[in-house]
């Protein structure tokens, strides 16, 4: 940067000592403006040699009872007793059970079971109509006596380790007899922001860089160590509280959807030309219909990435399953989940409990004598497969009504065993058989299933097209209650409206309907949702053609006009999750970019065309420069999977004008793709550069960026 303008003469009467210090500081600043100067300063800073110690913090005063229990605040009742009352639930739902008041236990019976945990335990997508707590209570009362059991629902969507322990502590004020802890899916990188390349913290980046120097698995190992320590602290506290209160605790080892859910992540930088080879192998595997060939390719991918990339494991799981090896597929799918826990993932991933959660819960069993419900074993037995799928899961971890019933039956078995309140306690198998199934209205069931479609569209990045699973859930929703077609139309209308969904009449109509979609079902997701809209349109076309016509007409209102539309805006991305994690999740300054960066070899954008017309495009694009070397390449433009045009790019921004002829476009949604050139060959150098940046506290790309767009403007050329 230049300094062409100089201010006028400085004050002439500066004090000499201050002036000398000022000159020194100017020299230092100039040195810090050089890479080596900054690096040396960062070494001093990382060594704690520069910062002035923070003043002694005032110790936090110990909370005085009565403590709030989660969202429930203590209030004094008319009779002088205490109760805990929560605010009214938000019209779009919130994260806690919709139970207004909690009261201390007054009599020895009913036995009070307190259920803690994350969104799975809260009944995400079904809540508040159907929750695991209510199902558990129903099973306990059915088999143990109607007035002998009650379940207090203290599960909370978004629960974290520290708040879990605090909620358990506070719950002791209402005297639970049994604690049930159903958590583990959220124990991921959100628990260890201190080992993150994405956190807006110089120290977190430096820590990450040091771990990365050990190899691609280094940060994962460091994060796991810290996570293990955090979990141990939380469970030690819970164990101590339970022991002091003299009550048993049951830990439920979560299971996740390993049949339908996939985790696609780009490969990290690999040595030599490994990165380019990885993508080439991936491309071949994705195109292949031959499971044996896919297995071979997946094994080669794993050799290349050392098992650090979940995508390779997924391809292996898929191929083994297709070849009938369900056990092998299950193992590969578990490895996929564990690899996705890597704290430097490129794409936003779905929270799924992996091996670490199991380890932590097993350790809690050993150290604190918790009972453990092994949900993976229960589900495998129930489903007759080690690869549980959509029968038990709505998405990556949230349970169907059947899944909730089975899981809670297994918990009930343990409650009966520990409480000794039932002679010859029934097994979970018999409870599943004999207890009445979860009661949920057709409308709530349909909403949960449409919610599964929406949630899947928002969180699944798969190695194969997502249409099948999205349509499965749309169909299931219509099966549950055909009236939900109206909600589907409203959803399309809201997604395609030119203003925030919350202001649309479509959302208002939905909220007034029996099919209220809440926050958990995906209102306020700021993109077109092209895959979801396609799935809804296809399903409605089969099931409710009039509704399909209406939804389609809403979509077409967002068609290209004669004015320019910039398709590089996140709204038009076919799959916005194919952006780097911090960019998708708005991590401080990292999210704040004016440029779209392709994190995958192909970028896809939604183009809505009302009538058959040529589409004019102008593209402002470049290839990321590596080490200052010039780059050139060709970008292939496709529409609907067919090549439509190409243009040349370099490391400098260039603008190209293109026309996609009318015969390439179809009325409605079109998938416009840009296929970028291969990344540069030297992955090791790229990784080294990333480490060097992180070491001085600068965010770095841990995965290839294939291309960059400043603009991708489109308009219909009806002339």
């Amino acid at each position: 940067m230049s300094h062409p303008h100089r201010p006028g003469p400085p004050e002439s009467d500066r004090e000499p000592e201050l002036e000398a210090r000022r000159r020194l500081c100017q020299e230092l600043a100039e040195s810090l403006a050089t890479p080596e100067g900054l690096r040396q300063a960062r070494l001093l800073q990382a060594g704690g040699l520069l910062a002035r110690p923070a003043p002694e913090a005032e110790p936090e005063p110990l909370p005085r009872p009565p403590l709030p229990i989660g969202i429930w605040s203590p209030v004094r009742e008319r009779d002088g007793g205490l109760a805990w009352v929560r605010p009214d639930p938000h019209p779009l739902g919130d994260h806690w059970a919709a139970v207004k008041t909690l009261r201390p236990k007054r009599d020895s019976l009913p036995l009070r079971v307190a259920l803690f945990g994350e969104s799975v335990a809260a009944g995400y997508l079904y809540a508040p109509h159907l929750t695991p707590a209510r199902v558990l209570e129903g099973i306990l009362r059915h088999a143990g006596g109607a007035d002998r059991f009650e379940v207090i629902d203290l599960a909370r969507t978004n629960e974290r380790l520290s708040t879990l322990a605090e909620t358990v502590r506070a719950s002791l004020q209402i005297q639970p007899d049994v604690l049930v802890l159903f958590a583990g899916n959220n124990w991921n990188l959100l628990e260890t922001p201190e080992v993150s390349p994405w956190a807006a913290s110089v120290e977190a980046r430096q820590r990450f860089a040091r771990a990365l120097r050990e190899g691609p698995g280094g940060p994962g190992r460091l994060a796991a160590e810290r996570l293990r320590a955090a979990a141990r602290r939380a469970f030690d506290l819970i164990g101590t509280l339970a022991r002091q209160a003299g009550i048993p605790a049951i830990a439920v080892v979560p299971e996740v959807n390993r049949a339908d859910w996939e985790t696609r992540q780009p490969a990290p930088w690999l040595p030599e030309d490994g990165t380019a080879r990885w993508y080439e192998l991936y491309r071949r595997a994705a195109e292949s219909r031959n499971p044996e060939q896919v297995q071979g390719l997946a094994e080669r991918l794993l050799e290349l990435d050392g098992g650090a990339c979940p995508t390779s494991w997924r391809l292996l799981a898929r191929s083994l399953r297709a070849r009938g090896d369900e056990e092998g597929a299950a193992r590969a799918a578990r490895a996929e989940v564990d690899a996705a826990a890597y704290p430097g993932i490129a794409f936003l991933a779905a929270p799924q409990a992996g091996g670490l959660a199991r380890e932590v819960l097993e350790e809690a069993r050993r150290r604190h004598h918790f009972s453990v419900v092994d949900l993976p074993a229960v589900f495998a037995e129930h489903a007759g497969s080690p690869l549980p799928g959509r029968r038990l899961f709505l998405d990556y971890c949230h349970l169907t009504a059947e899944g909730i019933q089975v899981a809670m039956a297994a918990v009930a078995e343990e409650v009966f065993r520990l409480s000794g309140m039932v002679e010859d306690p029934p097994t979970w198998r018999s409870l599943v058989e004999t207890a009445p199934g979860p009661e949920v209205s057709p409308e709530a069931d349909a909403v949960a299933k449409l919610g599964a479609a929406i949630h899947t569209a928002h969180r699944l990045l798969s190695t194969q097209p997502r249409g099948e699973i999205l349509e499965h859930w749309c169909e299931a929703a219509l099966d549950a209650s055909p009236g939900i077609a109206g909600a589907m139309v409203d959803l399309v209308a809201a997604r395609t409206a030119p203003l925030p969904e919350v202001l649309t009449a479509a959302q208002g109509r939905n909220l007034a309907s029996p099919y209220r979609l809440l926050l958990q079902h995906g209102w306020r997701w700021d993109h077109l949702d092209a895959d979801l809209i396609e799935a809804i349109l296809r399903t409605l076309r089969r099931r409710d053609p009039a509704a399909a016509d209406e939804a389609e007409s809403r979509l077409l209102e967002r068609s290209l006009s004669g004015s320019w539309t910039d398709l590089s805006h996140p709204y038009w991305l076919w799959d916005p999750l194919e952006r780097f994690y911090p960019e998708a999740m708005e991590f401080e300054d990292l999210a704040h970019r004016a440029v779209y960066r392709a994190a995958w070899p192909e970028s896809a954008f939604a183009v809505v065309v009302e009538e058959r017309s040529d589409v004019e495009l102008t593209v402002t694009a470049r290839l990321p420069a590596f080490g200052g070397a010039p780059r050139r390449g060709t970008v292939e433009v496709g529409v609907g999977g067919e090549a439509a045009a190409r243009f040349e790019v370099s490391e400098r921004w260039t603008r190209e004008g293109l026309t996609i002829p009318l015969h390439r476009m179809r009325p409605g949604l079109n998938r416009l793709t840009l296929r970028w050139p291969e990344p540069p060959p030297d992955g090791e150098a790229a990784r080294r550069r990333a480490v060097e940046r992180l070491e001085v506290g600068i965010a770095a790309d841990l995965h290839p960026v294939f291309g960059e767009l400043f603009a991708l403007r489109a308009r219909a050329d009806r002339a």
Binding site: M1, P4, H5, R6, P7, G8, P10, E11, R22, C25, Q26, A29, E30, L32, A33, L38, A41, R42, Q45, L50, A51, R52, P53, A54, P91, H95, S119, T157, N186, L190, V202, E203, Q206, A493, P498, L499, P500, L503, T504, A505, Q507, L519, G522, W523, R524, E557, M585, E586, D589, H592, R593, A594, V595, T618, T620, W653, G697, I698, F710, A711
Partner: protein, 590 residues
């Protein structure tokens, strides 16, 4: 020659664009991100400026950055590592701004860097329309300078004297702002509004805090300040000097606080009057241009013009750091072409995005709001609005391009009848939720300004106060000391707003309206129609005018007030304190 200026990473980031020397767009990032005073890289503002200019990134010739990162770092190092700050010392890295421009904006062309106060000076001089003027910049701190004195002539802009950190009028004002329990970099204008309620009983103490030196100089007595240590602005010695502990934020404002505010304001004005007199003597010029955060002190500006030797004063509408983007762009233009920007006097702050009626119609259709459509019927629209204003209604007025700078000037404004004695309370109750002592400002038809104010020149940007001389009682806009901060409205600059004032005048005989910014408490001024709709719904505003469409309150869906807070929370969420979009009130996945 197309140049974009950028300011960011301290207080309210912004971007401005000069196309062939003409200012075509300028905007603050907060208006897009909805994060008040958003200091992050102005990516949305940058993209908007290019779009407004009809330019692609490849057609931009240079970026201009509004301060020198190395010189700024040298001052930060001089001040020492603040106590208790981030142990990662993120500020140690002077390469960060350039990296942000390269990687965040994607810019791969030349970047020109200008000193902070040079950017301020340029934002005033090159947009003043004066061929030659004295230039004064005053703020908290840039790199080292806290005040500069100079002269502009044609394409030349020089400073001949500067006051350096830690001696700073801006930091003095911020320190007392903090002592009075208001937020630094946010509450200074509240202190200015509080001042007329007090008496200058602490002048002696204030004069111990700051003393004037020869020429343009002044010094703070650092014993009373603690900002060098980075923990708080004032020291215990200041509390001892003033004889009272600092006010707790949100606590009661008593006579002592009002007197402190009054004394501070008096001392600031005193010094500025003295220094501008010296500057006048030094330059011998009639025109003064001012910029920097302290130039937003419209009470001081009014006195400088009334009581000082300069005949004309120009303060740009974005006199604070956002305006640094504008100044840097102008300096880059000069640097690259050798010529002054072809700007002339800046008459309008309407430099941001606009929405045409044709763009708004589908939004209203998607919301299914029964708006009255006045397209092609402007007189009828204005009649309907004037009727409502005359009936005591509060109107949200959204028209034309968003203003650049902190003031709403008839584009994103809340309007009301200034004669209504209950209007100030009503506005506060319905929407602004601000301290009762703060006055609202009037807009007045330029042709009638002299009938109501002691004002003999245009004041298009609301940046000076003057005495109210109106034959009308104007309680909603008259401050306790009989002053007001009027905007004079020129029919050529904003014909529709002027026509509305005229329509109101015809009905009521009053050519003025209360004009306060269209925003909810704690939020930036509305930028888009969606922002306006949300703010309308979440306030008690009676009527919303979105270009040619008029909506009365009863047209709104009853459930909006319950739902919209979530949307607003989300739009503010990501920045600050390491927070991510994963927050308790959000659509979440886990």
């Amino acid at each position: 020659m197309n140049v974009a200026g950028v300011s960011a990473f301290f207080h309210e980031s912004a971007c401005a664009l000069l196309r062939d020397g003409r200012l075509v767009a300028a905007a603050s990032e907060e208006r897009f991100s909805r994060v008040k005073h958003d200091p992050r890289l102005p990516v949305a503002a940058f993209r908007f400026c290019l779009e407004a200019a009809g330019l692609d990134l490849t057609e931009l010739h240079a970026l201009a950055w509004y301060e020198s990162p190395v010189r700024k770092l040298s001052r930060q190092l001089w001040a020492g590592v603040p106590e208790g700050g981030d142990p990662g010392l993120p500020w140690l890295d002077p390469g960060q701004p350039e990296r942000a421009l390269r990687e965040g904006l994607g810019w791969d062309g030349p970047i020109l860097t200008f000193p902070h106060h040079a950017s301020h000076a340029a934002s005033a001089f090159f947009f003043s329309g004066s061929p030659e003027a004295a230039v004064l910049t005053v703020d908290g701190v840039g790199e080292w300078a806290t005040a500069t004195y100079g002269r502009g002539q044609g394409a030349s802009l020089e400073s001949f004297e500067e006051v350096e950190f830690p001696h700073s009028l801006g930091l003095l004002y911020s320190t007392i702002t903090s002592y009075l329990g208001f937020r630094v970099n946010d509450g200074e204008y509240k202190v200015m509004g509080l001042a007329p309620y007090g008496e200058p009983r602490h002048l002696g103490a204030m004069r111990r805090l700051v003393s004037s030196g020869p020429g343009g100089r002044f010094r703070l007595d650092l014993a009373y300040f603690d900002f060098l240590r980075g923990r708080r602005m004032y020291s215990e010695a200041l509390c001892d000097l003033l004889g009272a502990p600092p006010r707790t934020p949100g606590g009661e404002l008593g006579p002592f606080h009002r007197d402190v505010a009054r004394s501070l304001q008096a001392v600031l004005e005193e010094i500025l009057l003295e220094k501008t007199a010296w500057l006048h003597e030094r330059t011998g010029l009639d025109d003064l241009c001012m910029a920097g955060g302290v130039a937003l002190n419209c009470v001081a500006n009014g006195r400088i013009l009334r009581e000082g030797p300069f005949r004309r004063l120009f303060v740009p509408p974005a006199a604070g750091d956002a305006g640094g983007a504008l100044g840097a762009a102008a300096l880059a233009h000069v640097e690259l072409t050798g010529q002054a920007p072809a700007i002339g006097p800046l008459r309008s702050a309407a430099l941001g995005p606009a929405w045409s009626p044709e763009e708004i119609a589908p939004l209203l259709a998607a919301a299914e709001l029964p708006a009255r459509d006045f397209r092609g019927r402007e007189p009828e629209l204005l009649a309907a609005v004037a009727d409502r204003l005359a009936a005591g209604k509060v109107v949200g007025w959204f028209h034309g391009r968003l203003e650049f700078g902190p003031r709403a000037l008839g584009r994103r404004s809340l309007l009301a009848d200034p004669r209504d004695p209950g209007m100030r309370d009503r506005l506060n109750r319905l929407v602004k939720k601000r301290e009762a002592f703060r006055p609202f400002a009037p807009s007045v038809l330029a042709a009638h300004a002299a009938e109501h104010f002691d004002l003999d020149h245009p004041s298009p940007f609301m940046l000076e106060t003057c005495r109210v001389t109106s034959p009308l009682a104007l309680p909603a806009v008259t401050h306790v000391d009989g002053s007001a901060r009027p905007q004079t409205v020129d029919p050529e600059e904003n014909p529709r707003f002027a026509a509305l004032l005229e329509a109101f005048r015809r009905r009521t005989g009053c050519p003025l309206l209360v004009n306060t910014s269209f925003n909810l408490a704690g939020e930036p001024i509305v930028g888009s129609p969606a922002d306006a709709l949300a703010s309308f719904a979440l306030s008690g505003i009676d009527t919303l005018v979105l270009e040619d469409f008029l909506l009365d309150r009863d047209a709104l869906p009853p459930y909006w007030p319950e739902l919209l807070p979530l949307w607003r929370e989300r739009s503010r969420s990501p920045f600050g304190g390491g927070r991510t979009a994963i927050a308790e009130d959000l659509y979440t996945f886990v």
